[in-house]
């Protein structure tokens, strides 16, 4: 949330930091011959089916909080990565979208959080179904490097990366696959 140009950030998932094969571009042309590209929703929807499914290139889609995911739902099988945006940490719309995409519509590809990703939200993101986060906030990077997720020992609702706790109420979960 600062005016300073942020570095591109590092990609993080439950297993730790990883290489990001994707470049982000406004259009396919702008991406040149990059083998993996993330395009804004409008541009992505404008692609032909043939281009989307081309085997030599992966094309993911970036969705802003105000944009509807409805048009993507019938096409989920052809999308390698969906990046949901958090323009500010307190804009929570993408959490509900993650829930819908992953848990209601069973998206099998990578679900990614981009934007204002802070340490206090990482655990929430994982639980709603995000696989990866693009992080450029220094404190958050540090904490993630130290595996300090700021998490709690039990959850009061079902979610990804947790399982039913035995001998307790149906809505409760404990961390772990």
């Amino acid at each position: 949330m600062s005016d300073i140009e942020q570095p591109a950030g590092e990609l993080w998932g439950r297993e730790g930091f990883r290489e990001d094969p994707y470049v982000t571009a406004e259009t396919l042309e702008e991406a040149g011959d990059a083998p993996a590209v993330i395009l804004p929703l409008g541009a992505w929807l404008g692609l032909t089916e043939e281009t989307r499914n081309a085997s030599n290139r992966k094309i993911g889609v970036l969705v802003a909080p105000g944009e509807s995911i409805e048009p993507l739902l019938p096409l989920l099988d052809s999308i390698p990565v969906i990046a949901l945006q958090f323009p500010a940490f307190n804009d929570g719309r993408s959490y509900s979208k993650a829930e819908l995409i992953k848990n209601q519509h069973h998206f099998k590809g990578e679900l990614r959080a981009v934007g204002d990703v802070l340490i206090d939200q990482v655990a929430y993101m994982l639980r709603t179904g995000f696989d990866t986060m693009k992080v450029n906030h220094a404190v958050t990077l540090n904490r993630l490097a130290g595996h300090n997720l700021h998490d709690v020992p039990g959850y009061y609702q079902p979610g990804r990366g947790s399982h039913t706790a035995s001998g307790t109420y149906s809505w409760r979960r404990v961390p772990g696959a």
Partner: protein, 556 residues
């Protein structure tokens, strides 16, 4: 009442540890106030006019004696010897030092309490009828459902960054004492024709600058669907609620702008998709939570009735207190006692450490260890034997807690206003105190009868003025505090937003203006049985406006 199990203990202590770390980082300067803000808010810590304020959750208003003793201890040790009970069934401490707050949270955790989700754009402390589990008119105890909602909404990963705060209230009686129709979601526990329990579901009520009465979107929702249906509502809100303007961000605006029919359609569609998921409540879980709220094993005390008549005859003040502050209990040998935190001329909702300790002691001996906090800023002893009323009254009397004014004009709800609140545009506590003094005479107030007077120090309406039979809103105009009056509001089952009478009154005029309204009511009521609200509903605003504006014009 609900008791923490290991799961709850581990959860709360993990949160306290995290907050300790954050406070240390703030005190060492590693975190700026701006970075610290969202973190402290998640733990109920506000920055107010004079100091940090800590808001402690009292889920659905239920407290044990042990917990009340702890609240007293915190007031004594970490604050200035008092706490403020609020319309949200919470308690606020106005003067804790930031460095002490982690210790306060530890103390709270030791009695199964916390300050989580008392702030921020999340699902807030769930409120309920303060007579729950005791009132004679109850269909079912709303608290087990409030507890299930409390658990389910705690650190909800999807719903912690909603467009705005989100308040849920539950009632279990036809007589609504929890003001459910001015909440984001209101749930009315009831039975269907087959005798099964379920909820009428209301959505989109609220106060603030755009007061709205909630819309009923479902007449009967089976209990097993409580969490799936609530999830559907909050999800639709999270996705579509406005985020461009914080004054238009509550669900009431979404419901209003989308239309009740369309929003209901969206909620029902989302619900169909998740109805059969893991959140569908198994009956055994509902039963398990329910057992925590099983009524205490009340000893039969039939002897109370004969003694009561004599005691009342002997002491008029005691008799008035019984009339005003004791309501019928499910068990005819018992009564529900309201402890007024509105002494004549006092600060509504404030209680000293000694008063809290006294209430805790009385509850332990005479109310099966239970205390309630009401949204009317009073305390309640839910299970007092009629036979013990006299001794309870005498004990309350020793520390100014036996004011016989529950539901009367001096039982004023008032927000903290300019004396504490950073958002205030006017003082509210001093106005409440002056009105209380003006009408303090016991015979006079009893003659006026039921009259709910509510005051807010700004348009945010924390003092519920929109639903006051008489509401007072403090505003600032050209550097002067001005008080606007509204009439005919009501937060019960026939919920209405009050009508503004006209131009506001200065701080000097406001008490006279209230008296003018009350006098006019006394003149025009059909008889003593016709309450202020009933009279207003019969005659409308005109007679009151006439009285107000002609008289003041004459005086000027």
């Amino acid at each position: 009442m609900y008791r923490y199990d290991e799961f709850d203990h581990a959860f709360v202590s993990a949160r306290v540890e995290q907050f300790k770390d954050q406070v240390e980082r703030r005190l060492s300067g590693e975190l700026t106030e701006e970075q610290f803000r969202p973190l402290r808010l998640m733990n109920g810590v506000y920055l107010q006019l004079h100091a940090y304020m800590l808001r402690v959750a009292v889920p659905y208003g239920t407290l044990s004696s042990r917990q009340m003793h702890k609240l007293a201890h915190i007031a004594r040790r970490y604050d200035r010897g008092y706490g403020h009970f609020t319309t949200r069934q919470n308690i606020q401490y106005n003067w804790p030092a930031l460095k002490d707050i982690p210790a306060v949270l530890d103390e709270l955790a030791s009695v199964e309490m916390h300050a989580l989700q008392t702030s921020g754009n999340c699902i807030r402390n769930v409120t309920a009828d303060h007579f729950a589990g005791a009132a004679a008119d109850e269909v079912g105890d709303p608290r087990p459902y409030a507890e299930i909602l409390r658990q389910w909404s705690s650190m909800h990963p999807e719903f912690s960054y909603l467009p705005r705060k989100f308040k849920i209230a539950v009632t279990g009686a036809d007589r609504d004492r929890a003001a459910i129709q001015v909440h984001d979601i209101g749930l009315h526990l009831k039975k269907n024709e087959a005798g099964e329990l379920g909820f009428a579901v209301y959505v989109g009520g609220g106060q603030g600058r755009t007061p709205m009465v909630a819309k009923k979107i479902r007449d009967f929702l089976p209990v097993e669907d409580l969490l799936t249906y609530t999830t559907a509502i909050v999800r639709v809100y999270n996705l579509s609620g406005r985020r461009d303007n914080k004054y238009k961000a509550r669900i009431k605006i979404l419901v209003h702008e989308t239309g009740t029919e369309e929003i209901t359609r969206q909620i029902e569609a989302e619900w169909q998709a998740i109805k059969e998921t893991d959140l569908k409540l198994p009956q055994e879980d509902v039963d398990a939570i329910d057992t925590y709220f099983a009524p205490p094993n009340l000893v039969q005390r039939p002897e109370g009735w004969s003694g009561l008549a004599a005691a009342r005859k002997a002491d008029h003040a005691f008799s008035a207190w019984v009339d005003q502050n004791v309501t019928p209990h499910k068990n005819p040998d018992y009564g529900v006692v309201t402890i007024s935190l509105k002494p004549i001329g006092g600060i509504p909702g404030d209680a000293t450490d000694a008063q809290m300790d006294l209430v805790a002691d009385i509850a332990e001996k005479f109310s099966y260890d239970e205390i309630r906090v009401s949204h009317e800023q009073n305390l309640v002893l839910p299970h007092v034997a009629i036979a013990d009323l006299r001794i309870v009254y005498d004990l309350l009397l020793t520390d100014g807690l036996a004011t016989a004014n529950a539901g009367l004009i001096t039982d004023i709800i008032s927000c903290p206003g300019l004396d504490y609140c950073a958002l205030a545009t006017a003082r509210s506590i001093p106005v409440a105190q002056r009105i209380s003094e003006r009408f303090g005479n016991p015979e006079r107030q009893a003659d006026i009868g039921e009259l709910k007077l509510k005051i807010s120090g700004c348009i945010n309406a924390c003092g519920h003025h929109h639903v006051g039979h008489i509401g007072i809103l403090g505003v600032e105009k050209k550097g002067e505090e001005l008080y606007q009056i509204s009439l005919g509001g009501s937060g019960d089952e026939i919920c209405t937003i009050g009508d503004i009478t006209g131009r506001g009154f200065s701080s000097e005029e406001i008490v006279d203006a209230i008296e003018t309204i009350v006098d006019r009511y006394l003149e025009i009521r059909t008889d003593k049985e016709e309450t202020f609200l009933a009279t207003y509903r019969r005659v409308g605003a005109a007679p009151f406006k006439d009285a107000l504006y002609s008289e003041v014009a004459n005086a000027a």
